[in-house]
């Protein structure tokens, strides 16, 4: 939905005063369209984590003469990071998986490229499997390290 909105509502180019014409590249539109919902979700996760910190943490830190900024920085956010990592990483993986939709903008990402090259090769059915297996490997190589990294981070913050 947002992808379509951004495609049609954003201009192809921007005219600046003085006769300059700045084209708006498709990839930047795609980036913006993907970023919007993810930004919302990521910040919602953080908000939820901040709210899940018991109020006693705030109170005792206030009792120790910390300012609100200091409480956030030294007490609340460090505890949030640990709670946020799993859902954040989920979103990261989801985002990666949704990149093929960028073809709506005419951005040439991996899946579109694969299809194009298959057609260029004469669209022979026996090519289908290797091409898509290759794509699978690409995505796996990109996403698996994220999953591993998530586990490492979780372990590092798993104290207390």
């Amino acid at each position: 939905m947002i992808l379509f909105l951004v495609t049609y509502f954003l201009p192809v180019e921007v005219r600046l005063p003085g006769g300059w014409r700045v084209p708006v590249p498709d990839w930047s539109k795609a980036t913006l369209a993907f970023a919007l919902p993810v930004m919302g979700n990521i910040s919602e996760i953080l908000r939820g984590a901040v709210r899940s910190i018991p109020s006693g943490q705030w109170e005792s830190a206030e009792g120790l003469a910390f300012t609100r900024g200091q409480i956030l920085r030294y007490v609340v956010l460090p505890q949030c990071v640990r709670r946020c990592i799993p859902p954040w990483m989920n979103w990261y993986a989801l985002l990666t998986l949704s990149t093929p939709m960028a073809s709506i903008f005419g951005v040439h990402e991996a899946v579109a490229n694969a299809q194009a090259s298959m057609e260029a090769a004469g669209a022979r059915p026996e090519l289908l499997l290797p091409f898509y297996l290759f794509l699978l490997c690409l995505f796996f190589v990109y996403i698996y390290p994220i999953a591993v990294w998530t586990r490492v981070l979780e372990r590092r913050y798993a104290v207390g």
Binding site: Q57, S60, A61, G63, L64, A65, V159
Partner: protein, 259 residues
Amino acid sequence: MPLADPTTAGDTTGEDRRALVSLRHVRKSYGAFEVIKGISLDVDRGEVACIIGPSGSGKSTLIRCINGLSPIQAGSITVDGQEVNDPKLDKLRLRRKVGIVFQQYNLFPHRTALENVMMAPLKVLREPRAQVEERARRLIAKVRLTGKEGAYPGQLSGGQQQRVAIARSLAMRPEVMLFDEVTAALDPETVKEVLFTIRELAAEGMTCILVTHEMGFAREVANHVYFTDGGVIVEDGPPDRIFRNATDPRTRQFLSQIL
């Protein structure tokens, strides 16, 4: 407020001047519900005051008001001459003077015991690390937790956590310590450890205000006991008198149920 200036001591405040913590006709309500209905009390330097009374009588609220954690609607609270209810009050300056320990310990779970104690002096007072660490280790030894410096709160028992919380508060070198039912969440075994620590503090001359249900402890350690019920102080006096021959029927009834 110039404390040492003798000219500021008016005749009406002459007696109050030496009180470290002074409450005058304090009223506090949550919405329409009035929790504290006009409480006045004075706590002198080095004095140990115990506030006792049935649950819901506003004891914990009162103690939170003293370090400005919850605002009051009327009356005045002064700590070392600073008006707590003053909107222009430097709350951070007040809280450096007033340490508070809660029922639920509220240690920072992502930091070790030693780091919990060191955090506030490092970040708030910005003292050099070596000096803070030395003091923190001394405080941890004082609450008898030597060897537990590197433990995370989750690895400590309730009593141990509460003692770390006391050490953490002491690290700011407060002039008065507030204890809000600090033993209420502990089992009888560990209550002793925590009371031992508080008793030592009191003996060293630390000004303490305790809200407690430990009547035996209150009787032993307090210089003055306040019995609150329904948001007012029903009766107050030296512990011996309150516990042996209370005059108010409500105090008597409460004590007879508990002792």
